[in-house]
């Protein structure tokens, strides 16, 4: 049996790997599961139908019309249960989860601790074994939790109603774009087909309205202030403006000082304001979207509200609207009559659905448990700590040779955009290279920037309240060492990583659609050519 990942040769950069970084990732050289297959291995997980049923109905599968029968067996691997367990256990060990180490690199992602109790609660049979179409009187307990969370989020956001249908941040912005579209149509304003956003808002604020059919105008932040500026907005707003989609605070950590004026301007043209509050973690209890003019907004429950990111989902979006837009929300709405909770489907103007059933209910439960654990005091404290941690990080990071910050004159909230332009000029090492090296220190890679990359060589870490001072110091220490390497022996960085599960990836086959393979069968047929 050939093992693709078997270790055969001496590592060519062993001298760099010998540099002590205080960390070595597990390296199982775990083959692709197909290579572990042993023909004929079986696991009896699902039994045959009961004897009596088999006798009574016979082999029903023979009644499937020939033309729709499977012709060729799927070439799935065949392994025993312990082998499957070991394989995926090892793959989990080769993954740097939030709990695995210093995890403050992924700015805009709000990586924070997910309480284990909440994960346990979400697996209880009393939630796991609920069918979405059960009579509502049979899941009053869950509806109570959903309704309470809805009410708490209304308080935190200043909005009047919430829906948990969207399954992530992008899905939330898309759903809000559908609501905006339906609202203008219902008012006969078919000419309102333009949406305004900005380059330092998450890309979904441009991409989702575009997918919903809007023409999207993207503004860039002012070079000196980091804000959009009222003058820019005035130049593009018109009767055609359907609305404004902005992330607040921006992905740069800047809170736009004229946000209130923007909302007034957009409203004066009959447009709506949709705020993306994925970056809410630094401003809980300090500002509310609904108070500053938002008509629609969303939270990511998997960011601010602690539900785990699940390797890239399931997340959960919560969209909030003002009462004028309530009837456009996806059905059903949650209601409470004083004794019973209800699912109200009677919404003649609803946009219908953008996903199935009621959303990621397990994460609704986890977010609810988290807010309960925090209380208002804890929420305020968490935001303060996110802000203090990031400002501490800013001071310490600016002591690193070659590290600078964008919009230094602005105070930053949940995160900041650093850059390595000086380091790049002086050493050839920029943010992409440093990112390869930082994981060698047992520190999760950092988020650089969304596109367009306005600030070259960007670095955007985000230390949530769950980061300790020691985590922050370790992050900065690693940057100091990497900077030293950049200025003394940049080859160490260029050939990194040296302490991770795998070494530097060859990106070419991944960026050329003629060579890209995303399944084993395609790879078996044609390799990477």
């Amino acid at each position: 049996m050939t093992k693709t990942n078997s270790k055969t040769t001496k590592y060519q950069y062993q001298e760099y790997a010998d540099i002590d970084t205080g960390y070595q990732a597990l390296r199982w050289h775990e083959p692709v599961i197909y290579e572990l297959s042993r023909k004929g291995s079986r696991n009896e997980i699902i039994p045959n139908a009961e004897k009596e049923i088999q006798v009574k109905v016979g082999d029903i599968t023979k009644k499937i019309p020939k033309k729709i029968c499977r012709k060729t067996p799927a070439a799935l691997p065949e392994l025993s249960e312990p082998e499957v367990m070991r394989h995926y256990l090892r793959l989990s060990q080769e993954t740097f989860g939030y709990d695995s180490g210093v995890n403050i690199g992924l700015g805009t992602c709000t990586m924070k601790y997910s309480p284990k109790l909440n994960d346990q609660l979400a697996k209880l049979p009393s939630i796991a074994y609920l069918h979405p179409l059960q009579p509502e009187e049979t899941f009053q307990g869950l509806l109570e939790i959903m309704y309470d969370l809805r009410t708490w989020l209304c308080e935190l956001s200043g909005m009047d109603e919430f829906s948990f249908l969207p399954r992530g941040g992008g899905h939330s912005v898309y759903t809000n774009a559908c609501i905006m579209r339906a609202y203008h149509r219902a008012n006969g304003n078919l000419h309102k087909n333009e949406v305004i956003t900005c380059a330092v808002s998450h890309p979904c604020n441009a991409g989702c309205p575009s997918t919903a059919g809007f023409k999207v105008i993207e503004l860039h932040p002012n070079k000196n202030t980091g804000d959009i500026g009222l003058d820019q907005l005035e130049a593009v707003v018109s009767d055609r403006t359907a609305g404004l989609f902005l992330t607040a605070p921006y992905d740069t950590g800047v809170f736009d000082s004229q946000l209130g004026e923007y909302a007034k301007l957009i409203h004066s043209y009959g447009g709506l304001v949709a705020l993306d509050q994925a970056n809410f973690n630094g401003v809980m209890t300090r500002m509310r979207a609904g108070d500053i003019g938002a008509d629609l907004m969303h939270f990511n429950l998997h960011k601010t509200f602690s539900t785990p990111h699940g390797s890239a989902g399931p997340g959960a979006g919560a969209i909030g609207v003002k009462k004028e837009l309530r009837e456009y929300l996806p059905a059903p709405l949650l209601e409470f009559d004083g004794s019973q909770y209800h699912l109200n489907y009677n919404l003649p103007k609803t946009i219908g659905k953008t996903g199935v059933f009621y959303g990621v209910i397990i994460n609704v439960l986890k977010a609810y448990a988290w807010i309960m654990s925090m209380g208002e005091q804890g929420l305020r404290e968490a935001s303060e700590w996110a802000v203090i941690n990031n400002n501490y990080l800013i001071k310490k990071m600016l002591e690193v040779r070659g590290v600078d910050i964008a919009w230094p004159n602005r105070r930053k909230l949940q995160e900041a955009r650093f850059h390595l332009q000086k380091m790049k000029e002086e050493t050839g090492i920029g943010s992409a290279e440093v990112n390869l090296r930082i994981a060698d220190f047992g520190i999760q890679t950092f988020f650089e920037s969304h596109e367009p990359v306005i600030i070259p060589e960007p670095v955007t870490p985000e230390a949530s309240e769950a980061a300790s001072k020691e985590d922050l110091d370790r992050f900065v220490e690693a940057f100091h060492q990497i900077s030293k390497e950049a200025y003394s022996n940049p080859e160490i960085i260029r050939t990194a990583p040296h302490h991770c599960t795998i070494h530097q990836t060859n990106l070419e086959p991944l960026l050329d659609s003629k060579r890209t393979k995303v399944t084993w069968r395609a790879y078996q047929k044609r390799g990477l050519s």
Partner: protein, 463 residues
């Protein structure tokens, strides 16, 4: 300086750290930093929220108390499916998806998070084998959004403006794709044969035109019967340059032809049967795949984990930066589709599921589902006044019961069943008024003969 709260999720909230760290920042208080928010936009009111933090034990107690008011499909006898099915979740699926590393990871580089990228590549690979397709995307939100993405891929590939959908389409899917199609595509319904439920091919040919982007089929259909004309439909669509989109149930593919086998260009479906609990419809995973790499690969909106090598000979790498320029992150204001944090954890669950069961196990599972379903059809059809199956085709694990002959409505029957702790099938009278008083029943491997017999007994007494 105020006396800060010490909270168990906030390491720095221990006494003294705030002062030490603020000193480094150069600010006297955190409020000084918050002055960055314009005065007029700062919230100064009172929030109606629980004030105090709550201990772990108390959170546990309160939430369990709330959840204990629920009655589950374990306590009741459930015949509900309709997009969220009651299947066995192998212990290993829960064990692996519960691993903190997978559960809490997110967007790390392929060198830092190698394991989850390999797991995702393996999901794509095994799903590709099951679908008989070379290109499978990482999971999207759910089966209905996967259908929406499929529409966008088709529309961009062919430039057409119409999608032909079966009149028996899942109302869940229809509700979602109505939004996804808007304003790019019109949805046109193709009639079904009232006897078999199958797509009416004459009507399909009538409605097919140069404007047709794709024909959408469900197999098994929402109403449970197996659509056996997929290959003919593919041929009819392809002859006018339209595509075939097949919406499938992955656990049916041990027995039923794979979309790749009958010429589907795009496959989509709900992955929940592969190791996800029902969770009130909250644990879902959209399957999305395409058959022709050259034509469709770059039109996929979602993450793709590609395979590559590294600077070390023989070492493989897996990365989600695969063809990054396709996605909303790059296309921004010109995007025609979107993606984001989706359902990777469930993709890992599905990978474990497929590896554990293997093809023979999936085939076996399909057979058990079909046999149990057929048994239910056989004994329920003997009850006077009941007509089942409403459609004469072979059924996978759902089927329609028509109660017109009983003189009672589905609502009345379901209420009476509920009084006996039985959850009757999904009432179809709103979504499919033409079917009269009909309900969609689901019978999976989870039900025993005695469960089905009990339903029959109770139905007899009600009717």
């Amino acid at each position: 300086m105020k006396n800060s709260l010490v909270h168990r999720f906030i390491p720095n909230s221990a006494p003294g750290v705030r002062e030490e760290m603020l000193k480094v920042t150069g600010y006297k208080t955190v409020d000084e930093i918050y002055e960055e928010i314009p005065e007029a936009l700062r919230f100064k009111g009172e929030l109606k929220l629980p004030k105090e933090p709550v201990s772990e034990m108390e959170v546990d107690r309160r939430i369990k108390r709330s959840l204990s008011k629920n009655r589950t499909t374990q306590e009741m006898l459930s015949f509900l499916g309709a997009g969220c099915w009651f299947h066995y979740v192998p212990a290993l699926c829960g064990e692996i998806t519960g691993r903190s590393e997978f559960l809490t990871a997110y967007a790390g580089g392929d060198w830092a998070d190698h394991g989850r990228y390999q797991a995702m590549f393996e999901y794509q690979s095994m799903m590709g084998d099951l679908l008989d397709m070379d290109v499978v995307s990482a999971p999207v939100y759910d089966g209905t959004t996967a259908a929406g993405d499929a529409l966008h891929i088709a529309s961009r590939a062919t430039g057409g403006t119409e999608i032909l959908i079966p009149s028996t389409i899942s109302p869940n899917t229809l509700a979602t794709i109505r939004n996804y199609a808007d304003p790019w595509l019109d949805l046109k319904m193709i009639d079904h044969d009232p006897k078999t439920g199958l797509m009416d091919l004459d009507d399909l040919k009538r409605k097919l035109s140069s404007k047709t982007t794709a024909v959408f089929v469900e197999n098994p259909s929402y109403l449970g019967f197996i659509e056996d004309q997929c290959e003919e439909i593919a041929g009819i669509a392809h002859r006018v340059g339209a595509l075939l989109i097949a919406s499938i149930n992955p656990i049916s593919l041990g027995l039923l032809a794979a979309p790749g086998e009958y010429g589907a260009d795009i496959a989509c479906g709900e992955g929940q049967p592969m190791g996800m609990t029902q969770s009130c419809g909250g644990a879902t995973m959209g399957i999305l795949a395409v058959n022709d790499s050259d034509r469709f690969l770059t039109l996929l909106p979602s993450y793709l984990v590609g395979i590559s090598n590294t600077i070390v000979p023989g070492e493989l790498a897996f990365s989600w930066h695969t063809l990054w320029d396709r996605m909303l992150y790059s296309t921004r204001a010109h995007a025609r589709s979107f993606t984001g944090t989706s359902s990777w954890l469930w993709g890992i669950s599905a990978a474990v599921y497929m590896a554990l069961l293997g093809f023979e196990g999936i085939k076996q599972l399909g057979k058990t589902n079909m046999q149990n379903t057929q048994y239910a059809i056989d004994i329920l059809s003997k009850i006077p006044g009941i007509k089942t199956p409403l459609f004469s085709s072979v059924h996978f694990n759902e089927f329609v019961i028509n109660f017109d002959g009983t003189g009672k409505t589905v609502a009345v029957i379901n209420k009476a069943l509920f009084e006996k702790s039985i959850l009757g099938g999904k009432d179809l009278t709103n979504d499919f008024p033409d079917l009269g008083q009909s309900a969609l029943y689901c019978v999976t491997e989870m039900l025993r003969k005695e469960d089905i017999d009990r339903l029959a007994d109770v139905l007899r007494t009600i009717i």
